[in-house]
């Protein structure tokens, strides 16, 4: 290569570098929002029916609004600083509850509109609730409204002969009877309604004993798909009006493509109870929404104000499809704020919704939900004024922060505990579990490690639930713990196998696990091996019950002891401890149907006492919130469920004159 060319290429590469730098230096500058807050991990989704975590819920509460909305009522508790929040009118102006507590009638406001300008009616709620319950939506909160008539059957696709059912034919857009499913379950295929006459089930294939669990599960599902449903189909027009008294035609349906190859059998996506016409969530007219329950649910209004029951826009979802409808350019919402843009792992910007019914009460013009995982970074950004509210603070400086006026701390309705796997030998012995629990010095953990003012927990229901008297558990008692361990056959810890303690990777969990490791070593000579895993693998390992001891936390979904107790009944998918106690199951069941509030609370208390004595989980502490919010913000107060309605926040100087 001649030298000139070589020199040319050197110059060329310098030019390229220059261009690259200029390209890199063009920044799409975004002016900071009116109000910015730390929002933890980047939200997974903005779909109210798909979201589960805290970061998602904070945003969804602002973008959408349900019939009711949790808003502050009265002034904060002087002792704890907790601001009581109650369900207050949102999309509904008023509601009535029937005598037996089983029927709720909600009256919607006049003139409600979505952000695309279309009117919002009770039908939107009926449709949204149906979408939430539809199995293909895979909403993880479906169980919350299992007491709504037919909701549980619909959610779990349970049908019985004689039920009035809906049948969705295999003709969603882009489907032919032999094709794969279109995963967009809205808009639905052609709907037929009728009465289920019979289900013809072929013989189940018997698998050899050597078959794996996966193979078994798969065979079971295949078998279920091959069922043929015989239905007397009632005449209906295209828009879902059914003439139930009209002449019926018997037809046959099946999910399996093989079975449906026969012309007389139509392929369907599934046969489910007709929730749309007979379920407990019905729009009587545009302004009236009626909910019917199987049993009274004392906390039902709280549920109505919870985001999975918020309405979503049918037209938007049917046009754009499931994940795409939440894109900033597509999404249609109805809350105090509307989505402006979303930058992955950076921020979600929302702006005041001018069409919101109570737009005057909305304080901040724009809000940034900043995705921030590192505690130190959040604190740094708070201190430099880049965010105005930080909720996850580094523990090493909590003591210094505590005395500042912008620090807020209050008990939360949530608990930190260790799950024990009862399938692993020494842990199936109640004496061992009690010994482990009694050898842990919780006070030391909350005072010297977590340091956020947490309360030591000896049982699972956090204090502060109105009308509930907490059960007391086994307190620390090293001498008794040693005795118990000896009784169980491990005097002085001899012969006790090494057990592992699993926690998800976090700056908070490791020191606690390390201290518990030391306490058990010191007090009982029991060796604990620490294992950490990233959240995804962690939950998987726990769910597959491949752990011995595992850290866990639980935040109450609603302010009632039941949310902390019902997951420990036998075979609950969220228990994962293999613990089973029939008396406990009975008490929880009795409580769920008990109408008298006092009696119900007593039943729950009895259940909790069993739990605190049997210790399928070792409670460690009840969380408290530790948050920093700038002092010039008005309306900020901690609440037990860790809910913070953002539309009531405003800067002090900007308070409208009254």
């Amino acid at each position: 290569m001649p030298p000139e060319v070589r020199r040319g290429i050197v110059i060329f590469s310098c030019l390229v570098t220059l261009v690259a730098v200029i390209w890199a230096a063009r920044m799409d500058y975004v002016p900071p929002a009116h109000f910015s807050l730390q929002n933890g991990t980047d939200p997974k989704t903005l779909d109210p029916h798909r979201a589960t975590g805290q970061p998602e819920s904070k945003i969804i509460f602002e973008l959408f609004e349900g019939l009711l909305r949790m808003l502050p009522e009265g002034s904060p508790d002087p002792k704890t600083g907790l601001q009581p929040l109650t369900p207050q009118p949102g999309m509904a102006t008023s509601y009535e509850v029937s005598e037996d507590g089983k029927t709720y009638t909600f009256h919607l406001r006049d003139g409600l509109v979505w952000t695309d300008g279309t009117p919002l009616t009770a039908h939107d709620f009926a449709w949204s609730w149906q979408r939430m319950l539809h199995p293909a939506t895979a909403c993880e909160y479906g169980y919350l409204i299992s007491e709504v008539v037919l909701a549980d059957e619909y959610h779990h696709s349970i049908v019985k002969v004689g039920d009035r059912v809906e049948v969705e034919l295999w003709d969603r857009p882009g489907e032919s009877s032999g094709s794969d499913a279109n995963i967009q379950h809205f808009p639905r295929g052609t709907m037929k309604y009728g009465t289920l006459r019979a289900i013809i089930k072929p013989d189940q294939i018997v698998l050899p004993d050597s078959a794996s669990d996966d193979a078994r599960e798969s065979a079971e599902l295949d078998w279920q798909e091959s069922w043929v449903y015989q239905i007397d189909v009632a005449p209906s027009d295209g828009s879902g009006n059914v003439d139930w008294d009209g002449p019926t035609t018997p037809e046959e349906f099946s999910v399996s493509a093989q079975v449906a190859r026969d012309d007389s059998i139509q392929r369907t996506h599934g046969v489910m109870v007709d929730f749309q016409h007979f379920g407990g969530a019905q729009a009587v007219d545009d302004q009236t929404f009626v909910v019917r329950l199987n049993n009274a649910v004392p906390y039902f209004l709280n549920l109505v104000a919870y985001y999975p029951l918020f309405p979503v826009n049918r037209n938007c979802i049917e046009t754009h499809g499931a994940p795409l409808w939440t894109k900033a350019e597509n999404i249609v919402t109805n809350g105090p704020y509307m989505l402006q843009f979303r930058r992955l792992r950076d921020r979600i910007r929302v702006a005041k919704n001018p069409d919101y019914h109570n737009v005057d009460s909305v304080g901040m013009e724009t809000i940034d939900f900043i995705s921030l995982e590192s505690q130190n970074t959040a604190l740094n950004m708070y201190e430099t004024g880049q965010i105005q509210w930080a909720y996850d603070l580094p523990t090493s400086v909590l003591e210094e922060l505590k005395d500042r006026p912008d620090f807020h701390s209050a008990p939360k309705l949530s608990i930190y505990f260790y799950k024990l796997n009862h399938d692993v030998p020494p842990l199936d012995d109640i004496r061992v579990r009690q010994a482990l629990s009694m050898a842990i010095n919780r006070r030391q953990i909350v005072e010297e490690v977590s340091k956020g003012g947490q309360q030591p927990a000896y049982s699972v229901v956090p204090p502060g639930i109105a009308g509930y008297d907490n059960a007391d558990g086994l307190h620390e008692d090293v001498a008794r713990a040693k005795e118990l361990l000896a009784e169980a056959g491990y005097p002085g810890g001899r012969g006790f196998p090494k057990i592992s303690l699993l926690y998800n990777t976090s700056e908070t969990h490791r020191p606690i696990a390390e201290v518990i490791q030391q306490q058990l070593q010191n007090n009982l000579n029991i060796k604990i091996e620490l294992k950490n895993m990233e959240w995804g693998s962690f939950t998987e390992t726990v769910q597959m019950e491949k752990y011995e001891m595992a850290r866990y936390g639980w935040v109450g979904d609603y302010p009632d002891p039941n949310t902390f107790l019902d997951m420990w009944v036998t075979d609950n998918p969220q228990s994962n401890t293999n613990w089973s106690n029939l008396e406990y199951d009975g008490l929880i069941k009795a409580a769920s149907t008990e109408l008298d509030s006092t009696k119900r609370m007593q039943l729950l208390r009895q259940a909790e006492t069993i739990l605190a004595n049997e210790l399928p989980v070792i409670p460690i502490y009840f969380y408290t919130s530790a948050e920093m919010a700038k002092t010039n913000i008005e309306g900020f107060a901690p609440s037990a469920q860790d809910l913070h309605p953002l539309q009531i926040l405003r800067y002090r100087s900007e308070t409208p004159k009254e």
């Binding site: 604190l379 201190e383 400086v397 210094e400 700056e507 030391q518 070593q521 060796k527 950490n532 990233e534």
Partner: protein, 409 residues
């Protein structure tokens, strides 16, 4: 006769030539290295560090794992006396390690006497097993140190015999759980140094052979070998390591490995070593490429030296300067990589300790509200000083090995 004389002459010449050989390259280099003060100081420091790291259990340090939450959290560096086993939470007899040891040994001795007096073989066996289990489980050392190997165990015993309950005060302060940082830095050095050395050795062996062979043979061999390196280069290895960490952490895999006596950590660091050879091989190849047309290689070839001999005898020593520079960059890289993994929560798991883990803890404690400077300065200083020394030593060795430097200074 004539042939006999010839042979004698030949032998004489051979002997002479052997004697003429004189100062070897390495001897020469060593002489020159000795005249380089920075390198010699670094070498001394590194040797000292290695010795101290090996002998850590012997030193009168505090326990690296005992957490004194009530009184000793975040103590700045101080000279306050610390008694081994003095923390009330340990409930040691007399509040000392030796007191507890005496008590424990007395108990064991009682059992031993019982063992002597029993004659029933079955009972004897049970008793003996009981004693072994008690030593294994209840020995006070378990409270002070984590999972000592036999050698470390012996060293700890010697340490207690020598120094009793004396422990060096917390000269480096304590961390957020009240553990002595000085002890942790020393125990951490063991892990960090082993990681650095093992991984680098692996990378050295693979990298140099690969690069030299590819560079010397050139042509198809070179192309194929270097394309393989290119391929590996383009793989984001951090991914592989993350996968391996999760995969090897799986219980079934772990048990299988344990049964063949392979530590999960060992494999893990071998993997790091196997990743770091790429640069080494490229650099060596580059050097060899420009060296192989030099005259001394030509002459070696003309006298009929085998290719392997040329590569390892003539080429490798000549690229050694650059190799050593890279070596001094690789050990730090590996040690930093360990720190990086600890930052992501994928490094060693407590109660084991490494410098990376200490630094990660230190950084967590570094915030604007309050700066616990000692938590980051001492582990950071230890790491930086080690890497510093490695760098200076590397520079020194390079200068010393460079024949062109022979008649300078």
């Amino acid at each position: 006769m004539n042939t006999e004389a010839n042979r004698e002459t030949l032998e004489r010449i051979l002997v002479e030539s052997r004697n003429i050989h004189g100062v070897s390259l390495w001897q020469d280099a060593w002489n020159r290295l000795r005249r380089n003060p920075a390198a010699m100081i670094s070498l001394t420091c590194l040797v000292l560090l290695a010795v101290l790291a090996i002998l850590t259990p012997l030193l009168p340090l505090q326990s690296p794992i005992d957490k004194d939450l009530n009184e000793r959290r975040f103590l700045p560096p101080n000279l306050g006396t610390v008694v081994m086993g003095g923390r009330p939470g340990l409930k040691f007899a007399d509040g000392t390690l030796t007191g507890e040891l005496d008590r424990f040994n007395a108990e064991i001795a009682d059992l031993a006497i019982q063992l002597q007096s029993t004659s029933d073989p079955q009972q004897r066996q049970a008793l003996a097993a009981g004693i072994a289990a008690r030593i294994d489980i209840e020995h006070p050392f378990n409270q002070m140190w984590n999972e000592l190997g036999p050698v470390s165990w012996w060293m700890c015993q010697t340490r207690v015999a020598l120094f009793g309950n004396y422990a060096i005060p917390s000269l480096f302060g304590t961390d957020k759980l009240g553990r002595d940082l000085l002890a942790r830095v020393f125990w951490g050095a063991r892990v960090s140094l082993i990681v650095g050395i093992v991984a680098t050795l692996v990378s050295l062996i693979i990298g140099v052979s690969w690069g030299a062979i590819a560079g010397y043979f050139g042509g198809m061999i070179d192309a194929a070998m270097m394309r393989i390196v290119d391929m590996l280069y383009s793989i984001p290895f951090i991914f592989v390591v993350i996968f391996l960490v999760t995969f090897l952490g799986e219980d079934s895999v772990k048990k299988k490995l344990d049964s063949i006596g392979i530590d999960q950590i060992t494999i893990f660091y071998m993997v790091i070593g196997a990743i770091y050879w790429l640069t080494m091989s490229r650099v060596v190849r580059g050097q060899v490429l420009s060296l192989r047309s030099e005259q001394f290689i030509e002459s070696a070839r003309t006298v009929g030296a085998s290719p392997m001999r040329i590569v390892f005898r003539h080429l490798v020593p000549n690229v050694l300067g650059v190799v050593i520079v890279y070596l001094t960059l690789t050990i730090p890289s590996v040690m930093l990589f360990e720190a990086f993994l600890s930052f992501l929560g994928l490094g060693v798991s407590p109660p084991d300790v490494s410098w990376g883990l200490l630094l990660n803890d230190g950084v967590e404690a570094l915030s604007i509200i309050k700066v616990f400077w000692w938590v980051v300065v001492f582990p950071g200083g230890a790491l930086a000083a080690t890497l510093f020394a490695l760098n200076f030593l590397g520079d020194g060795i390079r200068d010393a090995l460079d024949p062109r430097m022979k008649n300078r200074d």
